[in-house]
Amino acid sequence: MKKDVLSVGTALAFTLMFFASFISAVMALTDWYDDYSPDHTAYAYVAGAYVYYPPPLGYYDQAHEGSITEGNVIRYAFTRFRGFDNTHIEVYRHTFNLANYTSIHKLYSYDDIWFIETYTDSGNGTIPQSAVTVEIGPPGIQ
């Protein structure tokens, strides 16, 4: 009897493990967005992967990239990577200076991130012209 219970328990554990990995693999979703500034001097990219365990629905892996495509940075240039939780409280923020023709690419694994943003400003032209913001969020938000 004891062995039977153990066998059933083991089978159940294996079944759960299998389905957990199956659901995780199949339901793993990604989302991404990228854009250039109106004068094409700054580029921003953001991507996130999230697993659909309702709830929560959050980006557990975050990818950011910011780059500038010109070589005449007179004032400043930077890219800024941000992530927010589901109350829109900022959970992380990293700011990187950019030199001429450079890019910064970072991967993060913050938990419970619901909204991701990359802002890049080439700092050469006027602000609306030389800056770009891209963001992704879960369905219903973005």
Binding site: I74, H88, I127, P128
Partner: protein, 323 residues
Amino acid sequence: MPVRSEVIHPYDWVKVGAYAKYIWTSGLTVKFPNDTRLWFHVLHSPVVLEWAVLEKQGDIVRLNVTLFINGTAHILPPGVTVFEAEYRDVIYRKTLFFDVDLYTREASLDGQPVGKTFFWAEPYATPGEEFIVSSPPSEPIVGNVTYVKTWNHPAVGKEIRIYGVYALQPDPYVCASYVFSWYTGVVIEPTLLTPWVVPPEMIGNFGGMFRNGTVFNVTRYAGEPVGTNLGLDEHYVIFELSETNIDISVESTPEPEATDAGIWKYLPYAFIATFIGLVATFLILRRRKQHIRTASTANFFNVWFCQMFLRHRKDFSNCFLNK
């Protein structure tokens, strides 16, 4: 040497009615004193920051400073998620009356000192100069003048002379850029900062970078009086000048050019003109010589032929007749 200072003295532009408007075009968050936040996710028009001179008494200038946002916002009381939050069109307008000392830029709100503001700064800055952009009572935000240049500004529609200030400090963290009019000191691109202390459990999640590439952790963000008191919940918002009635354009009188440079710049043209002239001269002379030589040879043959014809004309005629 400042050309314009001969025409307009610094701060002469500070008159009742002088104003400047600035815009920002991305979504942002503002916070009420009860910690309810408005996350403007969609903007129906650019965010506007405006200041205008209301009064001037001695060295003290009273400014009307307004932040205006028109968009669709999530209304987020503390602890409410974005899914539960009300989401609707909101107009946010906040006006403050700053009393600013014209020369020190120290400001007060309702009689309470709030620190140094950046609506204008000292004109005629030079690159490398250290520069206090703003100073909340405890910690000043210090930058450096990084450049002076002339810029054809789209909002002004004319060339303006500007100087740029860049501030980067790790604690409290500041990474901000400012642009001022070189002749008047009026701010052209202000950066609004709000203070924030990173909660202990989040330390390590916030970072900055020095210009040499070294990355560092941020534990505190610096604020300045304008962004802080207007209720922004962003640690960094850079505005851009969109409209002003203050004359910040470059004086139309051209700067005199150095005489030597004036002469030397025509050197390539002089070289080309000389070369073309010489080539033309040589060609004309050569053609003329050839023409003279050809003409004299032809004359010689003509004379010789005529003489020969006259001398032997009978032989010629017989020859033709016999045929």
